[in-house]
């Protein structure tokens, strides 16, 4: 008897939780859960009016988020500015003592560039990628343990394409994964879902750079077992996926606990403007 009544109580409590509309509640939880599942199922439509509506909604939410986050972004920028200011003397001393020999290096690079262009002409290789980049401003910087991405202020209207490479100065930082009408999302190279083909020079080994959520370095996947990669070797994009141009520097090899990682050249936390491949 008591088991039956407690089971009845349980069913009443469940029913009440799902179906009962409380004070000042316009919808029951059951109705809203059904709506949520319907909205979620719309995710499978990647084109057409559903996609356009989603794109407009995202644009509106991003602008709203930009306004709400702006005071915090201001504080964060000031904090990094202060940090830069504090380490300025140290950096200056390092640079002063280093023999950069920039002029001779620049001449050497110019020579290799012209030689490379000549060789490409000889084998009739066509450049698949545009060398033009457009400067964009970062609206939102979403760096949580689950997501490392940026929202930039240019979208479909400005000619941003899905999969385009994104650079900070000379260095690769990520690629465009979502294009809205007025904004786009850039997935940073350190995000868990980021996988890009790279080449390690001068050893010429190909691998996949896989983000691990760390702000400073990423992991290497599909490395040959008996590789002879040395510390400080440079990692470039290989361009073998057909969407990211080749030879964009990403970072350098570091060894940690007998494992090889790629330390990014760019500080992914301090980005204000980035360049998107047209």
């Amino acid at each position: 008897m008591s088991t039956e009544s407690s089971r009845d109580d349980f069913i009443i409590a469940i029913r009440s939780a799902f179906l009962k509309k409380g004070n000042r509640q316009k919808f029951s939880l059951f109705t809203l859960l059904i709506i949520s599942i319907l909205v979620l199922s719309l995710e499978y439509f990647k084109t057409g009016p559903v996609n356009q509506f989603r794109s407009i909604t995202k644009d509106i939410i991003f602008r709203g988020s930009y306004v709400v986050s702006s005071p915090f972004k201001y504080v964060k920028d000031k904090y990094y500015l202060f940090q830069d200011h504090m380490s300025m003397y140290e950096e200056f001393s390092v640079l002063r003592d280093k023999d950069l020999n920039l002029d001779s290096l620049r001449k050497e690079v110019d020579f290799y560039k012209s030689e490379n262009a000549l060789l490409k002409k000889l084998i009739e290789e066509r450049d698949l990628f545009s060398k033009e980049y457009m400067l964009t401003k970062i609206l939102l910087d979403k760096q949580s343990p689950y997501l490392k991405s940026l929202i930039i202020n240019k979208g479909q209207k400005n000619g941003v394409k899905l999969g385009s490479a994104v650079k900070d100065r000379l260095y690769y930082i990520g690629k465009v994964v979502n294009v809205n009408f007025l904004s786009s999302r850039v997935l940073l190279a350190n995000d868990l879902n980021s996988k890009i083909p790279i080449i390690i020079e001068p050893s010429g080994i190909n691998a996949i750079l896989s983000g691990n959520g760390n702000d400073e370095y990423a992991e290497l996947e599909y490395l040959p077992k008996d590789n002879e990669i040395k510390e400080n070797e440079i990692v470039y994009t290989s361009g073998s996926d057909g969407t990211i141009p080749a030879s964009i520097p990403v970072g350098k090899i570091i060894f940690q606990d007998n494992k090889k990682y790629v330390k990014f050249f760019s500080n992914l936390n301090q980005l204000n403007y980035v360049q998107v491949n047209k």
Binding site: A17, S65, S69
Partner: protein, 173 residues
């Protein structure tokens, strides 16, 4: 205090959970930081939804929770609808416990919150991994749930004080 100021103050107190919910949904802040290589972050939206639906459901509408979920999905680059389902499931659990509880008790709420976020986090992980093929760190998800659980009593005390302030203001009128 001028009448206009009093009204604004009351509006702030009454709308506090809604303002806070939309603030966290729009900005996606998790106050994440590292201590001894351990990443510590909190899911404030879970704390807000669970506390207010469990204790003062009339102050936070389910429809608004649904919209906060949609906004959170857009900001966090999740399939639109996933967070809404999570938040609404949290509401279902909180509302179920509310109907079963006679005398409110913070320790009891605290343990229930842990059970609720474990269920919701597991559903979140399952939906993303199975239906959308997304890579998500299960360890990070669980550590966020755990740290959110740890701060629940402190957050509940603050929310309770704010609610009492709102009541005081209403009675003063």
């Amino acid at each position: 205090m001028a009448r206009g100021d009093i009204k604004f103050y009351q509006f702030l107190l009454n709308g506090f959970p809604i303002i806070l919910l939309f603030f966290f949904a729009l900005t996606g802040y998790s106050f994440s930081f590292n201590i001894f290589k351990i990443n510590i972050s909190f899911n404030f939206v879970h704390l807000i939804v669970f506390y207010w639906v469990l204790r003062k459901p009339e102050m936070l509408g389910y429809g608004l929770i649904f919209f906060a979920g949609v906004i959170n999905d857009v900001v966090q680059n999740l399939p639109i609808g996933v967070s809404s389902i999570n938040y609404l499931l949290l509401c279902v659990i909180a509302s179920f416990f509310r109907t079963r509880t006679l005398v409110p008790n913070l320790i009891y709420d605290w343990i229930l919150f842990f059970i609720a976020i474990l269920i919701v986090s597991s559903i979140h992980f399952t939906v993303l991994a199975i239906f959308f093929d997304k890579n998500i760190s299960y360890g990070t998800l669980m550590s966020t749930a755990f740290f959110s659980f740890l701060i629940y009593p402190a957050v509940a005390k603050i929310f309770n004080q704010i609610y009492l302030l709102g009541l005081k203001q209403e009675h003063a009128e």
